[in-house]
């Protein structure tokens, strides 16, 4: 909205000065909060951040060494999560945007579910993961395939990843739907005019154009999944493991959980403080890099679309 055309020619009204100052100060305060958090973490985290910190395991009761297992666990978690969440999320978005009648009862139910899934508290996802994936699915698999031995019926990487996939599903759906609605109707008509079926149009014309938007969704989901802790508290995260997870039913370490444990359960806070700051810095850099790349991909996509629309 351009305000230049609306600005009166005389000096601004005193009410405008007050409102501008008040809202501007509030905006500034929000930016200052962000800056203070970032500066504090960077200033205290950078000195301890070495290559060894990123590539070694924690030692001496987590007061020395690095965080490599936590980085490895986080990456493994988000990869598995993406594999699970992406197909379901993209399919839901395609259905909502391409197939469903917007006013149909079923469509409204799906929409309500998507919107409300995004608002379910993350700790509830944790309990759901424990009750459903670990005990029901995992326990069921143990009964069927392992004669009741505990293999899958305990907190594990795969259950944490699936729980996280459910949590990030709405992120993927919303981003994909936006991407689909940005595909110009012209190309759909052109494809139909060439005799392509609806499915062919979606698979070969619409989806390829929506790929940047879907990628944005995937990146945002990964960023969310990398930072969430509550859903994995009971579904697979561990304080400390001597070895890396080497199968889907192993437990794993994760950056966010590592931060939580170091910050709250450490017997010697002063000894762990530098490590803690460095870990937080790694986690922040990771999520910021992901968010920034999502923003870049999205703005590229918008620029590209606005250009191709003339």
């Amino acid at each position: 909205m351009s305000r230049s055309s609306l600005r009166p020619s005389r000096w601004p009204h005193v009410g405008d000065v007050v409102l501008w100052l008040a809202t501007g100060l509030a905006t500034l305060l929000v930016l200052v909060i962000l800056a203070v958090i970032l500066i504090d973490v960077i200033r205290n985290g950078v000195p301890r951040l070495t290559l060894g910190f990123l590539t070694k395991s924690p030692t001496d009761g987590m007061t020395a060494g690095g965080i490599f297992p936590a980085i490895f666990g986080t990456v493994a978690l988000v990869i598995l999560m993406t594999i699970a969440a992406l197909p379901a999320g993209v399919a839901t978005a395609i259905y909502l945007h391409e197939y469903a009648r917007p006013t149909a009862f079923a469509t409204r139910i799906v929409r309500i579910a998507v919107n409300n899934l995004a608002g379910v508290p993350s700790i509830v996802f944790g309990l759901f993961g424990l009750g459903f994936f670990v005990q029901f699915v995992g326990g069921g698999m143990d009964k069927l395939f392992y004669d009741g031995d505990k293999v899958f019926g305990q907190p594990a990487l795969i259950w944490a990843a699936l729980t996280m996939a459910v949590l990030t599903l709405p992120v993927v759906i919303v981003a994909t739907e936006e991407a689909l609605s940005n595909v110009s109707p012209d190309v759909r008509l052109a494809s139909a005019a060439l005799g392509a079926t609806k499915f062919q149009t979606i698979a070969r014309v619409v989806l390829p154009q929506a790929v940047p938007g879907i990628m944005t969704g995937a990146i945002l989901a990964i960023s969310r999944g990398a930072g969430e802790v509550a859903p994995i508290l009971f579904t697979g995260a561990a304080y400390f493991l001597p070895t890396l997870p080497h199968s889907l039913h192993d437990q794993f370490m994760q950056l966010g959980y590592h931060v939580y444990v170091l910050a709250t359960q450490s017997p010697d806070v002063d000894a762990t403080r530098p490590l803690l700051y460095a870990t937080v810095l790694v986690l922040l850099v990771l999520t910021f890099a992901l968010n920034a790349s999502a923003i870049v991909v999205r703005s590229r996509m918008r620029r590209h679309l606005s250009r191709s629309h003339g």
Binding site: D40, I123, F128, V187, A193, Q200, A263
Partner: protein
């Protein structure tokens, strides 16, 4: 028409038609010769399916079916979440073993505990006589949520007004990504910051007895709420039709008069929705309050005292309980409560957004 080869032969160097010049190369994969031969004048209004002489191939139909089934994954997730947390909480209503230790009535109504002078609401599940009074947790949750909302709502709405009404293009390009970054900070990092840094500042400034308290947790929680409220609110303000603003200006209203009397009232449903969604976030947030609130289940209105919220209680206690025992069951019951309340709040928020979109759609 034969559109049934999944990997059809690519027609080499067909003379490009100008109308399709911008279409991606994928278009030419559908074999077009038969269609272009019989291309009717009414083509755009006619469904391409109707021209198909045969049904689409099996792979296509299977994939479409898969899409339709997968589309219900979100619905399935919601239903399964409710079923599986309710299932674990159910024995609270039915099991006699659990009733020996705790009942719904004992959770909600004041109890006279042995060794206490007067009846009290107490949450003390791990003790000689386990006590499951939920009111300290509910009051704690309310207290922290209220503080977070009191801080976040004015800041976020003001920032949204500034960005959408006063800020120039360049300012907006700084503020909006910055707030997206704030939204991207993991809550465990905000909790960490509250625990390590803010708690000390607050104690030095206000001289609180307990370093971790409702105020620290509430203010830290507001950092997570601000982006939610800001984003929805900014969108609502931006959706107010230009004609409203121009009409107001034409009547001689100053900018601030237009904002306070035209733009804000027009965006009111969206602003209400932003507050509801922020409330849902604050109510269910776990890690920040778990780390910064002190986690003492006290029944008190004092914001300088430690509090224990519903979500933090679940997170802190579930790891140490006996599977299927009374404590385990009660924690799942608390999760049902969290789920139902946040569902209600978010549902109201979404309805408000939908109404706003309809209203703006008609008005603009």
């Amino acid at each position: 028409m034969n559109g049934n080869n999944l990997e059809p032969v690519r027609l080499p160097n067909r003379a490009p038609r100008p109308t399709l010049a911008s279409a991606p190369s994928g278009v030419d994969t559908a074999s077009t010769s038969s269609v272009s031969a019989e291309r009717p004048e009414t083509m755009p209004s006619q469904s391409p399916r109707r021209l198909a002489s045969r049904r689409p191939p099996l792979v296509e139909r299977t994939t479409e079916l898969a899409i339709r089934v997968l589309a219900y994954s979100a619905v399935a997730a919601m239903v399964l979440i409710l079923i599986f947390i309710a299932k674990e909480a159910w024995p609270l209503l039915t099991s006699a073993t659990i009733h020996r230790e705790v009942t719904l009535a004992k959770m909600w109504f004041i109890q006279q505990w042995p060794g206490y002078d007067a009846p009290e609401h107490i949450w003390q599940p791990v003790s000689e006589i386990p006590k499951y009074g939920v009111w300290p947790l509910i009051v704690g949750t309310t207290k922290v949520t209220l503080i977070a909302m009191l801080v976040a709502v004015p800041l976020a709405i003001s920032a949204a007004v500034f960005v959408s009404q006063y800020a120039g293009h360049r300012t907006r390009e700084i503020v909006k990504p910055a707030i997206e970054f704030l939204a991207g900070i993991p809550s465990v990092v905000l909790g960490f910051f509250a625990l390590m840094v803010m708690a000390s500042w607050f104690q030095d400034t206000f001289g609180f007895d307990s370093r971790l308290n409702a105020l620290v947790a509430g203010v830290a929680l507001s950092f997570a709420v601000i982006p939610v409220v800001f984003t929805v609110c900014e969108e609502a303000l931006g959706a107010v039709p230009r004609s409203y603003v121009e009409a107001s200006a034409a009547l001689g209203a100053a900018r601030w008069q237009t904002i306070t009397r035209v733009v804000l009232p027009a965006a009111a449903p969206g602003i209400a929705a932003s507050i509801a969604l922020g409330l849902g976030r604050a109510f269910g947030e776990t890690m920040i309050v778990l780390m910064a609130s002190g986690n003492a289940a006290l029944l008190s209105a004092n914001p300088a005292e430690s509090v224990r919220t519903l979500s933090a209680t679940i997170a802190a206690e579930l790891a140490e309980v006996v599977f299927g025992g009374p404590h385990y069951t009660v924690l799942f019951a608390l999760a049902v409560l969290l789920f139902v309340v946040t569902f209600g709040i978010n549902f109201i928020g979404d309805q408000a957004i939908a109404r706003m979109k309809r209203r703006m759609g008609v008005a603009s």
